[in-house]
Protein backbone atom coordinates (compact mmCIF):
# COMPACT_ATOMS: atom_id res chain seq x y z
CA UNK A 1 0.00 0.00 0.00
CA UNK A 2 1.19 3.50 -0.78
CA UNK A 3 2.17 5.08 2.49
CA UNK A 4 3.46 8.35 1.07
CA UNK A 5 1.94 11.47 2.58
CA UNK A 6 -0.58 13.50 0.62
CA UNK A 7 -1.34 17.19 0.54
CA UNK A 8 -5.09 17.69 0.29
CA UNK A 9 -7.62 20.41 0.79
CA UNK A 10 -9.53 19.15 3.78
CA UNK A 11 -13.01 20.24 4.77
CA UNK A 12 -14.22 20.58 8.31
CA UNK A 13 -17.00 18.18 9.14
CA UNK A 14 -17.24 19.15 12.81
CA UNK A 15 -15.41 20.71 15.72
CA UNK A 16 -16.67 19.60 19.12
CA UNK A 17 -15.58 20.20 22.66
CA UNK A 18 -14.17 17.27 24.61
CA UNK A 19 -13.41 18.46 28.11
CA UNK A 20 -10.73 21.08 27.72
CA UNK A 21 -9.95 19.81 24.26
CA UNK A 22 -11.38 20.20 20.79
CA UNK A 23 -12.20 17.28 18.57
CA UNK A 24 -11.85 18.16 14.90
CA UNK A 25 -13.09 15.94 12.08
CA UNK A 26 -11.82 16.69 8.61
CA UNK A 27 -12.80 15.22 5.29
CA UNK A 28 -9.41 14.56 3.73
CA UNK A 29 -9.54 12.27 0.70
CA UNK A 30 -6.90 9.57 0.62
CA UNK A 31 -5.27 10.28 3.96
CA UNK A 32 -7.15 7.75 6.05
CA UNK A 33 -6.23 4.67 4.05
CA UNK A 34 -2.56 5.51 4.39
CA UNK A 35 -2.71 6.11 8.11
CA UNK A 36 -1.29 3.80 10.75
CA UNK A 37 -1.51 4.40 14.51
CA UNK A 38 0.99 6.99 15.71
CA UNK A 39 1.08 9.00 12.48
CA UNK A 40 0.24 12.68 12.50
CA UNK A 41 -1.09 15.37 10.20
CA UNK A 42 0.28 18.88 9.65
CA UNK A 43 -2.45 21.47 9.22
CA UNK A 44 -2.02 24.90 7.67
CA UNK A 45 -3.62 27.53 9.91
CA UNK A 46 -4.99 31.03 9.53
CA UNK A 47 -5.86 31.11 5.85
CA UNK A 48 -4.04 32.71 2.97
CA UNK A 49 -3.49 36.12 4.53
CA UNK A 50 -2.41 34.77 7.88
CA UNK A 51 0.84 35.86 9.47
CA UNK A 52 1.25 32.23 10.61
CA UNK A 53 3.19 30.34 7.99
CA UNK A 54 4.04 27.13 9.73
CA UNK A 55 1.81 24.10 9.86
CA UNK A 56 0.67 22.70 13.19
CA UNK A 57 1.20 19.01 13.92
CA UNK A 58 -1.47 16.82 15.49
CA UNK A 59 -1.54 13.10 16.17
CA UNK A 60 -4.26 11.32 14.27
CA UNK A 61 -6.97 10.19 16.64
CA UNK A 62 -9.12 8.30 14.15
CA UNK A 63 -8.91 7.83 10.39
CA UNK A 64 -11.81 6.36 8.48
CA UNK A 65 -11.43 5.44 4.84
CA UNK A 66 -14.70 5.85 2.92
CA UNK A 67 -16.94 6.47 5.88
CA UNK A 68 -20.36 8.08 5.56
CA UNK A 69 -18.80 11.43 4.70
CA UNK A 70 -15.93 10.06 2.64
CA UNK A 71 -12.42 9.77 4.03
CA UNK A 72 -12.14 11.45 7.39
CA UNK A 73 -9.30 12.17 9.74
CA UNK A 74 -9.86 13.21 13.35
CA UNK A 75 -7.58 15.01 15.75
CA UNK A 76 -7.93 16.12 19.34
CA UNK A 77 -6.22 19.29 20.39
CA UNK A 78 -5.74 21.79 23.14
CA UNK A 79 -5.87 25.51 22.40
CA UNK A 80 -2.30 26.56 23.00
CA UNK A 81 -1.67 29.69 20.92
CA UNK A 82 -3.06 31.44 17.86
CA UNK A 83 -2.91 28.51 15.47
CA UNK A 84 -4.93 26.16 17.63
CA UNK A 85 -7.28 29.02 18.53
CA UNK A 86 -7.94 29.46 14.81
CA UNK A 87 -8.61 25.75 14.38
CA UNK A 88 -10.99 25.74 17.34
CA UNK A 89 -12.90 28.51 15.59
CA UNK A 90 -13.52 26.57 12.37
CA UNK A 91 -17.04 25.73 11.35
CA UNK A 92 -18.44 22.96 9.22
CA UNK A 93 -17.46 23.22 5.53
CA UNK A 94 -14.47 25.50 6.19
CA UNK A 95 -11.30 24.51 4.36
CA UNK A 96 -8.14 23.33 6.10
CA UNK A 97 -5.10 22.27 4.11
CA UNK A 98 -3.89 18.88 5.32
CA UNK A 99 -0.55 17.18 4.85
CA UNK A 100 -0.42 13.61 6.05
CA UNK A 101 -0.14 11.00 7.22
CA UNK A 102 3.32 11.85 8.46
CA UNK A 103 5.90 10.13 10.60
CA UNK A 104 6.77 6.61 11.60
CA UNK A 105 3.91 4.89 13.37
CA UNK A 106 4.01 2.63 16.42
CA UNK A 107 5.68 -0.71 15.85
CA UNK A 108 3.36 -3.58 16.63
CA UNK A 109 4.45 -6.71 18.49
CA UNK A 110 4.66 -9.83 16.38
CA UNK A 111 3.23 -11.99 19.18
CA UNK A 112 -0.14 -11.62 20.95
CA UNK A 113 1.42 -10.21 24.12
CA UNK A 114 -0.31 -7.89 26.60
CA UNK A 115 0.44 -4.22 25.99
CA UNK A 116 0.24 -1.17 28.20
CA UNK A 117 -0.75 2.13 26.53
CA UNK A 118 0.01 5.32 28.43
CA UNK A 119 -1.52 8.63 27.41
CA UNK A 120 -0.97 12.03 28.99
CA UNK A 121 -3.59 14.71 28.26
CA UNK A 122 -4.48 14.80 24.56
CA UNK A 123 -1.64 12.27 24.14
CA UNK A 124 -4.16 9.51 24.58
CA UNK A 125 -5.77 10.38 21.24
CA UNK A 126 -3.54 8.23 18.99
CA UNK A 127 -3.70 5.29 21.40
CA UNK A 128 -7.22 4.20 20.49
CA UNK A 129 -6.39 3.29 16.92
CA UNK A 130 -3.33 1.54 18.25
CA UNK A 131 -5.46 -0.37 20.76
CA UNK A 132 -7.69 -1.53 17.94
CA UNK A 133 -4.78 -2.82 15.89
CA UNK A 134 -3.34 -4.55 18.94
CA UNK A 135 -6.63 -6.25 19.72
CA UNK A 136 -6.88 -7.42 16.11
CA UNK A 137 -3.55 -9.12 16.68
CA UNK A 138 -4.80 -10.72 19.87
CA UNK A 139 -2.84 -8.48 22.23
CA UNK A 140 -4.68 -7.70 25.47
CA UNK A 141 -4.66 -3.90 25.94
CA UNK A 142 -4.33 -2.05 29.22
CA UNK A 143 -4.52 1.71 29.34
CA UNK A 144 -3.23 4.33 31.69
CA UNK A 145 -4.61 7.82 31.12
CA UNK A 146 -3.41 10.83 33.02
CA UNK A 147 -4.04 14.55 33.06
CA UNK A 148 -3.71 17.57 35.29
CA UNK A 149 -7.46 17.56 35.95
CA UNK A 150 -10.46 15.56 34.87
CA UNK A 151 -11.12 18.00 32.02
CA UNK A 152 -7.64 17.34 30.70
CA UNK A 153 -8.18 13.64 30.32
CA UNK A 154 -9.16 12.47 26.89
CA UNK A 155 -11.11 9.34 26.04
CA UNK A 156 -11.67 7.69 29.41
CA UNK A 157 -15.03 6.23 28.35
CA UNK A 158 -13.66 5.04 25.05
CA UNK A 159 -10.75 3.49 26.92
CA UNK A 160 -13.12 1.54 29.12
CA UNK A 161 -14.70 0.10 25.97
CA UNK A 162 -11.49 -0.68 24.18
CA UNK A 163 -9.08 -1.81 26.89
CA UNK A 164 -9.22 -4.68 29.35
CA UNK A 165 -8.21 -2.45 32.23
CA UNK A 166 -7.98 1.29 32.52
CA UNK A 167 -6.12 3.26 35.18
CA UNK A 168 -6.78 6.97 35.42
CA UNK A 169 -4.72 9.59 37.21
CA UNK A 170 -5.21 13.31 37.74
CA UNK A 171 -2.87 15.62 39.53
CA UNK A 172 -5.64 17.33 41.43
CA UNK A 173 -7.52 14.14 42.19
CA UNK A 174 -10.61 15.24 40.25
CA UNK A 175 -10.74 11.76 38.70
CA UNK A 176 -9.02 8.45 39.34
CA UNK A 177 -5.87 8.19 41.40
CA UNK A 178 -4.32 11.44 42.55
CA UNK A 179 -0.92 11.72 40.94
CA UNK A 180 0.71 11.07 37.59
CA UNK A 181 0.68 8.14 35.23
CA UNK A 182 4.14 7.23 36.40
CA UNK A 183 2.82 6.65 39.91
CA UNK A 184 0.48 3.85 38.81
CA UNK A 185 2.51 2.44 35.94
CA UNK A 186 4.69 0.07 38.04
CA UNK A 187 1.58 -1.59 39.39
CA UNK A 188 0.07 -1.91 35.89
CA UNK A 189 3.25 -3.38 34.47
CA UNK A 190 3.46 -5.86 37.33
CA UNK A 191 -0.22 -6.79 37.11
CA UNK A 192 -0.28 -7.28 33.32
CA UNK A 193 3.20 -8.63 32.78
CA UNK A 194 3.26 -6.62 29.56
CA UNK A 195 6.59 -6.75 27.72
CA UNK A 196 5.91 -3.48 25.91
CA UNK A 197 4.56 -0.07 26.81
CA UNK A 198 3.39 2.54 24.32
CA UNK A 199 3.35 6.16 25.40
CA UNK A 200 2.24 9.51 24.05
CA UNK A 201 2.19 12.72 26.05
CA UNK A 202 4.41 15.51 27.29
CA UNK A 203 8.18 15.03 27.05
CA UNK A 204 8.54 14.80 30.85
CA UNK A 205 6.06 11.96 30.96
CA UNK A 206 7.74 10.11 28.09
CA UNK A 207 11.08 10.39 29.74
CA UNK A 208 9.71 8.97 32.96
CA UNK A 209 7.85 6.18 31.18
CA UNK A 210 10.89 5.25 29.11
CA UNK A 211 13.03 5.20 32.25
CA UNK A 212 10.58 3.08 34.16
CA UNK A 213 10.18 0.68 31.23
CA UNK A 214 13.94 0.26 31.01
CA UNK A 215 14.09 -0.44 34.78
CA UNK A 216 11.42 -3.09 34.39
CA UNK A 217 13.14 -4.61 31.38
CA UNK A 218 10.17 -3.73 29.18
CA UNK A 219 10.27 -2.28 25.64
CA UNK A 220 8.87 1.20 25.25
CA UNK A 221 7.58 3.05 22.20
CA UNK A 222 7.29 6.79 22.77
CA UNK A 223 5.64 9.35 20.46
CA UNK A 224 7.50 12.62 21.02
CA UNK A 225 6.39 16.19 20.46
CA UNK A 226 9.14 18.47 19.19
CA UNK A 227 8.64 21.89 17.68
CA UNK A 228 8.32 21.38 13.91
CA UNK A 229 8.52 23.88 11.08
CA UNK A 230 7.80 21.56 8.14
CA UNK A 231 6.66 18.19 9.47
CA UNK A 232 7.91 16.47 6.31
CA UNK A 233 11.64 16.20 6.91
CA UNK A 234 13.11 19.12 5.01
CA UNK A 235 13.89 21.75 7.64
CA UNK A 236 15.88 20.00 10.41
CA UNK A 237 14.18 21.87 13.23
CA UNK A 238 12.59 18.92 15.02
CA UNK A 239 15.67 17.00 16.01
CA UNK A 240 16.55 15.23 19.22
CA UNK A 241 19.55 13.13 20.19
CA UNK A 242 18.93 9.45 19.50
CA UNK A 243 21.30 6.51 19.73
CA UNK A 244 21.35 4.72 16.40
CA UNK A 245 21.68 1.04 15.59
CA UNK A 246 25.42 1.57 15.18
CA UNK A 247 25.65 2.86 18.76
CA UNK A 248 26.36 6.44 17.69
CA UNK A 249 24.27 9.38 18.84
CA UNK A 250 22.79 11.45 16.05
CA UNK A 251 20.52 14.49 15.94
CA UNK A 252 17.51 12.79 14.40
CA UNK A 253 14.41 14.37 12.84
CA UNK A 254 11.37 13.49 14.89
CA UNK A 255 9.01 14.18 12.00
CA UNK A 256 10.31 11.50 9.64
CA UNK A 257 12.38 9.21 11.84
CA UNK A 258 9.81 9.66 14.65
CA UNK A 259 7.56 10.78 16.17
CA UNK A 260 7.62 7.26 17.61
CA UNK A 261 10.97 6.21 18.99
CA UNK A 262 12.09 3.30 21.07
CA UNK A 263 12.28 4.78 24.54
CA UNK A 264 15.76 3.52 25.34
CA UNK A 265 17.18 5.07 22.18
CA UNK A 266 16.31 8.66 23.02
CA UNK A 267 18.78 10.57 25.20
CA UNK A 268 15.97 12.11 27.21
CA UNK A 269 18.19 14.08 29.54
CA UNK A 270 20.02 15.60 26.61
CA UNK A 271 16.97 16.79 24.66
CA UNK A 272 17.55 20.47 23.88
CA UNK A 273 21.31 20.00 23.71
CA UNK A 274 23.80 18.43 21.34
CA UNK A 275 25.48 15.94 23.66
CA UNK A 276 29.25 15.59 23.42
CA UNK A 277 30.16 12.79 21.08
CA UNK A 278 27.14 13.28 18.82
CA UNK A 279 28.02 12.68 15.18
CA UNK A 280 29.22 16.01 13.79
CA UNK A 281 29.11 17.83 17.14
CA UNK A 282 30.44 21.33 16.71
CA UNK A 283 34.06 22.21 16.72
CA UNK A 284 33.74 25.59 14.95
CA UNK A 285 31.11 28.29 15.30
CA UNK A 286 28.27 27.32 13.00
CA UNK A 287 26.85 29.43 10.18
CA UNK A 288 23.30 29.87 9.12
Amino acid sequence: MNREPLQVRGRVLSVDRAGEYHHLTLVAPGVAERTRPGAFVALAVGGETSAMLLRRAFSIYRAKASGVYGDTVEVVFAVHGSGTAWLADRRAADEVDVVGPLGRPFTLPTEPVPCVLVGGGYGSAPLFALAERLRERGCPVHMVLGGATERRLFGVLEARRSAQTVAVTTEDGSAGTTGRVIDVLPEVLARTGAPVVYACGPMGMLRAVAGLAAEHGVWSQCAVEESMACGVGVCMTCVLPVRDDDGLVRMVRSCVEGPVFRGERVLWDAVGTVPAGTVGAPRVGPGR
Binding site: E4, P5, L6, Q7, A44, A51, M52, L53, L54, R55, D97, V99, E226, S227, A229, C230, G231, V232, G233, V234, C235, M236, T237, C238, V239, L240, R250, M251, V256, V271, G272, T273, V274, T278, V279, G280, A281, P282, V284, G285, P286, G287, R288
Partner: protein, 327 residues
Protein backbone atom coordinates in the same frame (compact mmCIF):
# COMPACT_ATOMS: atom_id res chain seq x y z
CA UNK B 1 -2.79 52.76 -11.78
CA UNK B 2 -2.28 51.68 -15.30
CA UNK B 3 -2.04 48.16 -16.58
CA UNK B 4 0.75 47.79 -19.04
CA UNK B 5 0.43 45.00 -21.52
CA UNK B 6 3.85 45.18 -22.94
CA UNK B 7 3.66 42.36 -25.37
CA UNK B 8 0.28 42.92 -26.97
CA UNK B 9 -2.95 41.32 -25.69
CA UNK B 10 -3.12 38.41 -23.25
CA UNK B 11 -1.84 35.07 -24.42
CA UNK B 12 -3.23 31.75 -23.26
CA UNK B 13 -1.33 29.94 -20.54
CA UNK B 14 -0.25 27.30 -23.02
CA UNK B 15 1.52 29.96 -25.09
CA UNK B 16 3.89 30.61 -22.20
CA UNK B 17 7.10 28.63 -22.17
CA UNK B 18 8.42 28.80 -18.61
CA UNK B 19 11.88 27.53 -19.54
CA UNK B 20 14.82 29.79 -18.72
CA UNK B 21 18.56 29.59 -19.09
CA UNK B 22 20.38 30.71 -16.00
CA UNK B 23 24.12 31.20 -16.26
CA UNK B 24 24.13 28.55 -18.99
CA UNK B 25 21.89 25.97 -17.29
CA UNK B 26 18.50 25.28 -18.77
CA UNK B 27 15.69 25.14 -16.23
CA UNK B 28 12.18 24.03 -17.24
CA UNK B 29 10.74 26.70 -14.92
CA UNK B 30 12.34 29.60 -13.12
CA UNK B 31 11.13 28.31 -9.75
CA UNK B 32 13.55 26.33 -7.59
CA UNK B 33 13.69 25.30 -3.98
CA UNK B 34 15.89 27.34 -1.64
CA UNK B 35 18.81 25.84 0.18
CA UNK B 36 18.03 24.40 3.58
CA UNK B 37 14.32 24.26 2.90
CA UNK B 38 14.19 21.12 0.77
CA UNK B 39 16.92 18.95 2.34
CA UNK B 40 18.29 17.04 -0.65
CA UNK B 41 14.93 16.83 -2.39
CA UNK B 42 13.85 13.33 -1.48
CA UNK B 43 11.30 14.30 1.20
CA UNK B 44 9.50 16.58 -1.26
CA UNK B 45 9.01 13.91 -3.88
CA UNK B 46 5.57 12.85 -2.58
CA UNK B 47 4.38 16.41 -3.21
CA UNK B 48 6.26 17.45 -6.31
CA UNK B 49 7.65 16.07 -9.52
CA UNK B 50 11.26 17.06 -8.85
CA UNK B 51 12.23 16.68 -12.49
CA UNK B 52 9.64 19.24 -13.55
CA UNK B 53 10.57 22.09 -11.22
CA UNK B 54 13.34 24.53 -12.03
CA UNK B 55 15.95 22.98 -9.81
CA UNK B 56 16.50 21.53 -6.38
CA UNK B 57 18.98 23.56 -4.40
CA UNK B 58 20.28 21.28 -1.69
CA UNK B 59 20.87 22.13 1.96
CA UNK B 60 24.32 23.69 2.33
CA UNK B 61 26.74 20.88 2.93
CA UNK B 62 30.04 21.30 4.72
CA UNK B 63 33.21 19.29 4.49
CA UNK B 64 32.47 17.10 7.51
CA UNK B 65 29.31 15.81 9.09
CA UNK B 66 27.68 18.40 11.37
CA UNK B 67 25.24 17.90 14.20
CA UNK B 68 23.90 21.44 13.99
CA UNK B 69 22.78 23.52 16.94
CA UNK B 70 20.73 22.59 19.98
CA UNK B 71 16.96 22.92 19.85
CA UNK B 72 14.78 24.97 19.79
CA UNK B 73 15.94 25.67 16.28
CA UNK B 74 13.02 27.72 15.08
CA UNK B 75 10.44 30.20 16.15
CA UNK B 76 7.53 31.46 14.14
CA UNK B 77 7.44 35.23 13.68
CA UNK B 78 4.87 37.45 11.95
CA UNK B 79 4.80 36.28 8.31
CA UNK B 80 8.10 34.53 8.78
CA UNK B 81 10.30 32.52 11.04
CA UNK B 82 13.71 32.50 12.63
CA UNK B 83 15.92 29.45 12.31
CA UNK B 84 19.22 28.41 13.75
CA UNK B 85 19.82 24.97 12.35
CA UNK B 86 23.57 25.31 12.33
CA UNK B 87 24.04 23.55 9.03
CA UNK B 88 23.30 20.04 10.22
CA UNK B 89 24.36 17.64 7.52
CA UNK B 90 26.21 14.51 6.51
CA UNK B 91 29.38 16.13 5.10
CA UNK B 92 30.30 16.43 1.44
CA UNK B 93 31.43 12.86 0.84
CA UNK B 94 28.28 11.25 2.18
CA UNK B 95 26.28 13.84 0.27
CA UNK B 96 28.02 13.08 -3.03
CA UNK B 97 27.77 9.34 -2.47
CA UNK B 98 24.17 9.16 -1.41
CA UNK B 99 22.07 12.28 -1.95
CA UNK B 100 23.33 13.66 -5.23
CA UNK B 101 22.95 10.43 -7.26
CA UNK B 102 19.39 10.06 -6.00
CA UNK B 103 18.51 13.50 -7.36
CA UNK B 104 20.29 12.96 -10.63
CA UNK B 105 18.56 9.63 -11.20
CA UNK B 106 15.20 11.35 -10.79
CA UNK B 107 16.06 13.78 -13.56
CA UNK B 108 16.18 16.79 -11.25
CA UNK B 109 18.64 19.59 -11.78
CA UNK B 110 20.78 19.54 -8.65
CA UNK B 111 22.18 22.86 -7.55
CA UNK B 112 24.57 21.90 -4.79
CA UNK B 113 24.96 24.41 -1.99
CA UNK B 114 28.21 24.34 -0.05
CA UNK B 115 29.39 26.19 3.04
CA UNK B 116 32.78 26.41 4.70
CA UNK B 117 34.28 27.69 7.88
CA UNK B 118 37.55 28.74 6.28
CA UNK B 119 38.98 29.47 2.86
CA UNK B 120 40.68 26.08 2.93
CA UNK B 121 37.34 24.38 3.44
CA UNK B 122 35.75 26.25 0.54
CA UNK B 123 38.67 25.22 -1.67
CA UNK B 124 38.40 21.58 -0.64
CA UNK B 125 34.63 21.57 -1.13
CA UNK B 126 35.16 22.99 -4.60
CA UNK B 127 37.66 20.26 -5.46
CA UNK B 128 35.45 17.40 -4.30
CA UNK B 129 32.41 18.84 -5.98
CA UNK B 130 34.34 19.64 -9.14
CA UNK B 131 35.26 16.00 -9.46
CA UNK B 132 31.69 14.83 -9.11
CA UNK B 133 29.34 14.29 -12.06
CA UNK B 134 25.74 15.37 -12.08
CA UNK B 135 26.02 18.81 -10.55
CA UNK B 136 23.97 21.38 -12.48
CA UNK B 137 25.41 24.34 -10.62
CA UNK B 138 27.12 25.17 -7.37
CA UNK B 139 25.69 27.67 -4.92
CA UNK B 140 28.22 29.04 -2.49
CA UNK B 141 26.70 29.94 0.85
CA UNK B 142 29.03 32.54 2.28
CA UNK B 143 26.85 33.49 5.26
CA UNK B 144 29.11 31.51 7.54
CA UNK B 145 31.53 32.76 10.14
CA UNK B 146 35.17 32.56 9.14
CA UNK B 147 36.95 30.80 11.97
CA UNK B 148 40.22 32.29 10.81
CA UNK B 149 38.86 35.86 10.91
CA UNK B 150 37.34 36.30 14.39
CA UNK B 151 34.17 34.58 13.25
CA UNK B 152 33.39 37.43 10.88
CA UNK B 153 30.82 36.27 8.34
CA UNK B 154 32.34 35.91 4.85
CA UNK B 155 29.35 37.53 3.16
CA UNK B 156 29.67 40.67 5.27
CA UNK B 157 33.04 41.63 3.87
CA UNK B 158 33.54 42.07 0.12
CA UNK B 159 37.14 40.85 0.29
CA UNK B 160 36.49 37.72 2.30
CA UNK B 161 33.39 36.99 0.24
CA UNK B 162 35.43 37.17 -2.94
CA UNK B 163 38.13 34.93 -1.51
CA UNK B 164 35.60 32.25 -0.59
CA UNK B 165 34.13 32.37 -4.08
CA UNK B 166 37.45 32.17 -5.86
CA UNK B 167 38.54 29.32 -3.59
CA UNK B 168 35.57 27.31 -4.85
CA UNK B 169 35.92 28.52 -8.42
CA UNK B 170 39.46 27.16 -8.68
CA UNK B 171 38.27 23.63 -7.87
CA UNK B 172 35.37 23.33 -10.28
CA UNK B 173 35.21 23.06 -14.07
CA UNK B 174 35.16 26.38 -15.91
CA UNK B 175 31.75 25.75 -17.37
CA UNK B 176 30.09 24.76 -14.11
CA UNK B 177 27.96 27.73 -13.05
CA UNK B 178 28.75 29.13 -9.62
CA UNK B 179 26.10 31.16 -7.82
CA UNK B 180 27.30 33.22 -4.88
CA UNK B 181 24.63 33.59 -2.23
CA UNK B 182 24.65 36.97 -0.55
CA UNK B 183 23.56 38.15 2.85
CA UNK B 184 21.41 41.28 3.13
CA UNK B 185 23.11 42.20 6.41
CA UNK B 186 25.55 44.63 4.86
CA UNK B 187 25.63 48.36 4.41
CA UNK B 188 26.17 48.06 0.67
CA UNK B 189 25.18 44.86 -1.10
CA UNK B 190 26.23 46.14 -4.53
CA UNK B 191 29.88 46.25 -3.48
CA UNK B 192 29.75 42.67 -2.25
CA UNK B 193 27.97 41.63 -5.44
CA UNK B 194 30.57 43.27 -7.65
CA UNK B 195 33.36 41.75 -5.63
CA UNK B 196 32.14 38.15 -5.88
CA UNK B 197 31.37 38.51 -9.59
CA UNK B 198 34.93 39.69 -10.09
CA UNK B 199 36.11 36.64 -8.15
CA UNK B 200 34.54 34.24 -10.62
CA UNK B 201 30.88 33.88 -9.71
CA UNK B 202 28.60 33.20 -12.66
CA UNK B 203 25.60 34.69 -10.91
CA UNK B 204 24.14 35.70 -7.59
CA UNK B 205 21.50 34.29 -5.29
CA UNK B 206 19.88 36.95 -3.13
CA UNK B 207 19.10 36.89 -0.28
CA UNK B 208 20.06 34.65 2.58
CA UNK B 209 18.19 35.19 5.85
CA UNK B 210 18.67 38.40 7.81
CA UNK B 211 19.83 38.19 11.40
CA UNK B 212 17.10 38.25 14.01
CA UNK B 213 16.36 37.27 17.56
CA UNK B 214 13.32 36.32 19.58
CA UNK B 215 12.95 36.16 23.32
CA UNK B 216 10.57 33.81 25.04
CA UNK B 217 8.51 35.85 27.46
CA UNK B 218 8.01 32.73 29.58
CA UNK B 219 11.60 31.59 30.03
CA UNK B 220 12.81 35.22 29.81
CA UNK B 221 15.63 33.98 27.59
CA UNK B 222 16.28 33.81 23.85
CA UNK B 223 14.07 31.17 22.24
CA UNK B 224 16.68 29.71 19.96
CA UNK B 225 19.39 27.38 21.10
CA UNK B 226 21.70 29.41 18.90
CA UNK B 227 20.50 32.73 20.44
CA UNK B 228 20.28 34.65 17.15
CA UNK B 229 18.79 33.12 14.02
CA UNK B 230 18.04 33.84 10.41
CA UNK B 231 14.79 35.61 9.58
CA UNK B 232 13.00 34.37 6.47
CA UNK B 233 9.60 34.29 4.83
CA UNK B 234 7.23 36.81 3.24
CA UNK B 235 8.14 39.26 6.04
CA UNK B 236 11.49 39.90 4.35
CA UNK B 237 10.29 39.88 0.74
CA UNK B 238 10.47 43.66 0.31
CA UNK B 239 14.07 43.56 1.51
CA UNK B 240 14.96 40.77 -0.91
CA UNK B 241 13.29 42.53 -3.84
CA UNK B 242 15.20 45.69 -2.93
CA UNK B 243 18.53 43.80 -2.99
CA UNK B 244 17.74 42.28 -6.37
CA UNK B 245 16.69 45.69 -7.65
CA UNK B 246 19.86 47.44 -6.45
CA UNK B 247 22.17 44.82 -7.90
CA UNK B 248 20.32 44.62 -11.21
CA UNK B 249 20.41 48.40 -11.47
CA UNK B 250 24.18 48.40 -10.98
CA UNK B 251 24.97 45.25 -12.98
CA UNK B 252 22.13 44.52 -15.38
CA UNK B 253 23.94 41.65 -17.09
CA UNK B 254 24.51 39.56 -13.99
CA UNK B 255 22.23 36.52 -13.68
CA UNK B 256 20.38 36.84 -10.40
CA UNK B 257 18.24 34.35 -8.52
CA UNK B 258 15.74 36.02 -6.21
CA UNK B 259 14.85 34.44 -2.89
CA UNK B 260 13.03 35.73 0.15
CA UNK B 261 9.37 35.21 0.90
CA UNK B 262 8.14 34.02 -2.48
CA UNK B 263 4.65 32.65 -1.86
CA UNK B 264 2.72 33.17 -5.09
CA UNK B 265 3.20 33.60 -8.80
CA UNK B 266 2.76 37.33 -8.32
CA UNK B 267 5.66 37.34 -5.88
CA UNK B 268 7.79 35.47 -8.40
CA UNK B 269 6.80 38.00 -11.05
CA UNK B 270 7.82 40.81 -8.71
CA UNK B 271 11.33 39.34 -8.42
CA UNK B 272 11.60 38.91 -12.18
CA UNK B 273 10.49 42.48 -12.77
CA UNK B 274 13.14 43.64 -10.28
CA UNK B 275 15.82 41.84 -12.26
CA UNK B 276 15.91 38.20 -11.18
CA UNK B 277 16.11 35.46 -13.82
CA UNK B 278 14.74 32.84 -11.48
CA UNK B 279 13.45 32.53 -7.94
CA UNK B 280 13.76 30.13 -5.06
CA UNK B 281 11.18 29.15 -2.49
CA UNK B 282 12.30 28.58 1.07
CA UNK B 283 10.10 29.07 4.10
CA UNK B 284 6.90 28.85 2.08
CA UNK B 285 7.75 25.20 1.37
CA UNK B 286 7.00 24.53 5.02
CA UNK B 287 3.56 25.99 4.50
CA UNK B 288 3.02 24.36 1.14
CA UNK B 289 5.37 21.56 0.09
CA UNK B 290 4.05 21.69 -3.46
CA UNK B 291 4.73 25.43 -3.78
CA UNK B 292 7.42 25.24 -6.51
CA UNK B 293 4.91 23.66 -8.86
CA UNK B 294 2.01 25.89 -7.81
CA UNK B 295 4.05 29.09 -8.01
CA UNK B 296 5.35 28.20 -11.47
CA UNK B 297 1.82 27.63 -12.72
CA UNK B 298 0.63 30.86 -11.13
CA UNK B 299 3.53 32.65 -12.77
CA UNK B 300 2.51 31.16 -16.10
CA UNK B 301 -0.97 32.61 -15.64
CA UNK B 302 0.38 36.01 -14.59
CA UNK B 303 2.64 36.15 -17.64
CA UNK B 304 -0.06 34.97 -19.95
CA UNK B 305 -2.58 37.53 -18.66
CA UNK B 306 -0.09 40.26 -19.44
CA UNK B 307 0.69 38.99 -22.92
CA UNK B 308 4.16 37.63 -22.25
CA UNK B 309 5.39 34.33 -23.61
CA UNK B 310 8.45 33.75 -21.49
CA UNK B 311 9.76 34.72 -18.07
CA UNK B 312 12.86 36.19 -19.71
CA UNK B 313 10.72 38.89 -21.33
CA UNK B 314 9.99 40.49 -17.98
CA UNK B 315 13.40 40.30 -16.33
CA UNK B 316 14.27 43.76 -15.04
CA UNK B 317 11.30 45.36 -16.76
CA UNK B 318 10.46 47.50 -13.73
CA UNK B 319 13.70 49.41 -14.27
CA UNK B 320 12.42 51.04 -17.42
CA UNK B 321 12.17 54.78 -16.97
CA UNK B 322 8.57 55.71 -16.09
CA UNK B 323 8.25 57.58 -19.38
CA UNK B 324 8.46 54.29 -21.25
CA UNK B 325 5.19 53.11 -19.72
CA UNK B 326 2.06 54.27 -21.53
CA UNK B 327 -0.23 56.07 -19.09
Amino acid sequence: MTTVESAGGPTTGSDVDLGVTLAGVYLPTPVMTASGCAAAGRELSPFLDLSAIGAVVTKSVMLDARSGRPTPRMVETPSGMLNSIGLQGPGIDAFLARDLPWLVERGARAVVSIAGGSLGEYAELGRRLGASPGVAAVEVNISCPNVEDRGQVFACDPVQAARAVSAVRRGIPRDLPLLAKLSPDVTDIVTVAASVMEAGASGLTMINTTLGLAIDPDTLAPVLGGVTGGLSGPAIRPMAVRCVWQVHAAMPDVPVVGVGGVRTGRDALEFLLAGAHAVQIGTVLFNDPSAPHRVAEELRAELSQRGFRSPSEVVGLAHRPPAAAPS
